[in-house]
């Protein structure tokens, strides 16, 4: 910061400081002139030193030294005989004049230097405070956008600039500017690069506007700001890289889990198909034996099973990568349930299915295909765990602003502490080899329901286990559109 700017006098423009100094000297001279008869010449000289000291102290060295010279002249003109001339007759008066001039100049210089020193110290302290504030604000930030924002704010505050722009490079370049106006149509007054050991990270561009030109000390402070910013950015990016590495490690671990689960699961139906197909080929099985029909049925069933496994894996990877975008439309829940059970009719033969889904339920804004997937997975899960000849119940009703759906079975209950975790990937309560499946069905349900704006949970009921989920009745806050008019009968 310019040291002159830091003083209290900085609020007064240069002209006013000189003008006020001259005005003060003039008024003091007028007072002394009125009292000329009673005041001794030497006393006047001494009294003149008071305003001189004050002027230097308040308004600086320039006005001080100027006032000293003016005082010297007025003193000579008005108070040393002969009056109203600049000539001096008496030797003592010469001495008084010379001593006055020396003292006045020395006082001005001393006071001025002390003031300048004080101003410099204040400026340095302010600089230190600003730097401290900046580094405190930057501490603990791990987001490069937040860092850029803080940096821009501080630069803007400190420089009192008209417009500050930060251009951050890196893997994902961005720019941040203050205030929220468009960039001034001229080149910036100052560009400071944000430099780190491993290269250029960005730059600060400053438009100062009508304010005074940028001084060397300001430039230096902004450089320091830039290096603080560079440090913070590097730290943030390192932290990000580290967390990315952690995520990769985690997904790597998950992938191996998927691979081991999948290879086991895929091999089971494949083995059946291979065995059945090769025995059909070997002519060991005669063309019209019942065994042949069974083998062919096994190949068909296991191929469907394989297809379902692959579908589950695809769904899961889509949910994981956030690519599961529901194609929401206004749908009728009972149509979805009916179509799922129609397709599963051979699988549900050994269980009793009870459906309590009123057909006059309001329309729900969901993805039809995905909701079919949810019902398929929940019913399959129930079929897998619930004993044969027990009841699987599908119920739906309106509750508040949503539809509450429950798929319950009379299978084994789940310990309370596991109820939430059964929606996790590959989570199984029973040993994996006792039940077939990828362990993905329920987590796919969770992904789909949440993508469609609902919530899913499991609970133990009196005679078994129930899966519950909700579906919204409004879509972006709106209800389904009304149907157009129709003629009564044809």
């Amino acid at each position: 910061m310019n040291s002159a700017n830091m003083r209290s006098s900085s609020f007064l423009p240069r002209f006013w400081r000189y003008f006020l100094s001259v005005l003060l000297i003039a008024s003091i001279t007028a007072i002394f002139f009125a009292l000329r008869e009673v005041l001794d010449t030497t006393l006047v000289a001494l009294l003149y030193l008071i305003p001189l000291g004050m002027i230097t102290a308040f308004w600086g060295f320039g006005p001080g030294i100027t006032s000293a010279w003016i005082t010297f002249l007025t003193f000579n003109y008005f108070f040393i005989e002969p009056y109203y001339t600049f000539t001096v007759h008496q030797a003592t008066d010469v001495v008084v004049l010379v001593v006055f001039l020396i003292v006045a100049v020395v006082i001005s210089q001393l006071v001025g230097r002390a003031q300048a020193g004080l101003a410099a110290a204040t400026a340095r302290e302010l600089e230190a405070t600003q730097l401290y504030e900046l580094s405190t604000a930057l501490t603990g930030l791990h987001d490069d956008h937040a860092i850029a924002q803080i940096l821009a704010k501080q630069v803007h505050a400190v420089s009192q600039g008209e417009y500050v722009e930060l251009n951050i490079l890196g893997t994902d370049p961005f720019s941040f500017h203050l205030p929220e106006i468009s960039t001034p149509p001229r080149p910036p007054e100052l560009i400071v690069s944000i430099q780190a050991p491993r290269g250029l990270l960005g730059e600060i561009r400053l438009w100062r506007g009508a304010a005074p030109a940028i001084s060397a000390s300001e430039r230096r402070l902004l450089q320091t700001f830039a290096s603080q910013g560079a440090l913070a950015l590097e730290r943030a990016w390192l932290a990000q890289a580290e967390s990315r590495a952690k995520v990769l490690e985690e997904s790597d671990r998950l992938k191996s889990a998927i691979l081991s689960s999948v290879s086991h699961e895929l091999r089971t139906p494949l083995s059946t198909i291979k065995a059945a197909a090769s025995s059909l080929r070997s002519k060991e099985v005669s063309w019209d034996s019942p065994a042949r029909t069974q083998l062919v049925a096994a190949i068909d069933d296991e191929a469907d099973h394989l297809n379902m496994l692959v579908g589950n894996l695809l769904d899961m990877s889509r949910i994981e990568s956030g690519a599961l975008k529901p194609k929401r439309e206004w749908n009728i829940l009972s149509e979805i349930v009916g179509s799922v059970l129609g397709r599963m009719r051979h699988l549900v033969e050994e269980h009793e299915i009870e459906i309590e889904v009123p057909e006059n339920l309001p329309l729900v804004p969901v993805d039809y295909v995905q909701m079919e997937q949810v019902f398929t997975n929940l019913v399959s899960n129930s079929l897998k765990y619930a004993p044969v000849n027990t009841v699987i119940r599908i119920r739906a009703q309106v509750e508040d602003e949503s539809i509450h759906v429950q798929v319950s079975n009379q299978g084994p209950q789940v310990p309370t502490e596991h109820l939430e975790r059964i929606f996790d990937k590959f989570y199984r309560i029973t040993a994996a080899d006792r039940v077939t499946g990828t362990g993905l069905g329920l987590s796919i349900c969770k992904g789909i329901i949440e993508a469609n704006g609902g919530r899913i949970w499991a609970e133990n009921i009196a005679d078994g286990l129930a899966f519950n989920f909700t579906l919204p009745l409004t879509w972006d806050g709106t209800k389904p559109p009304p149907l157009p008019m129709d003629t009564e009968t044809e």
Partner: protein, 231 residues
């Protein structure tokens, strides 16, 4: 066997080509195969097949584009093959002029059923259209606008009848939401699938023995609807 229907199969997977060729030849069809879209389009132009079976996932051209090119000069039925979860592509191809679809992996009965329906519709365009469609206890007389369930006439609203008549006239074929909506309500309402949901529920209630497990008006998830009539 020169009168046997000629089927062109375009798919880049040799195993699928082999399986389809074996089965269709066994069933008495003449089969030509192509593994690339360009080759398939050339064969279609020179051989003028009765049916084209087209895989949507060809390496050299988008399947929807192939449909478009075929439709520029031929009305021969196109059955598309695609994997699960590509409803968007299927709907695009169907709206671009394909007649039906099969999701891989598919059963051979499904394939043969689609081929039969496609052949029937292609011969129909040349000959007379059957005016009465029967499905179980249902009789839909398209020229007299009468729908009967057993001996009893079923009262339908104007749009219900329009919808049912369009489905029945195209029985066996999948009809996309957009196709149905455009034909019954007009192009301005082509996005209102909820109209279809509500009207299908009403139709099923009036026509199906068990509306919750429909046998005649089937939902094709994410695609549209299909009306199943007696063969």
């Amino acid at each position: 066997m020169s009168n046997a229907p000629h089927i062109l199969v375009i798919d880049d997977e040799p195993q699928i080509l082999r399986a389809i060729r074996t089965i269709l030849t066994e069933k008495g069809f003449r089969v030509t195969t192509a593994s690339r879209a360009e080759e398939g389009l050339t064969l279609a132009a020179t051989n003028e097949p009765d049916i084209v079976i087209l895989d949507l996932g060809l390496p050299d051209m988008d399947g929807v584009e192939v449909c478009k090119r075929l439709r520029e000069w031929t009305q021969c039925p196109i059955i598309i093959l695609s994997v699960r979860d590509s409803e968007r592509d299927k709907v695009a191809a169907l709206d671009m002029g394909a007649d039906d679809y099969l999701t891989k992996p598919f059963g051979i009965e499904e394939l043969l059923a689609r081929v039969r329906v496609a052949l029937r519709h292609s011969t129909r365009t040349q000959g007379t259209q059957s005016k009465v469609v029967r499905a179980g206890p249902l009789t839909i007389d398209l020229s007299w606008h009468i729908v009967k369930r057993g001996e009893d006439e079923v009262k339908l609203t104007g749009n219900e009848y329009k919808l049912l008549a369009f489905l029945a006239a195209n029985h066996g074929r999948v009809l996309t939401h957009q196709n149905l909506l455009t034909n019954v309500w007009g192009p301005a309402d082509a996005d209102h699938t909820e109209y279809l949901r509500v009207y299908m529920r009403q139709l099923r209630k009036k026509l199906e023995p068990d509306p919750e497990r429909p046998q005649y008006i089937l939902t094709e998830p994410g695609i549209g609807y299909r009306f199943i009539a007696d063969e």
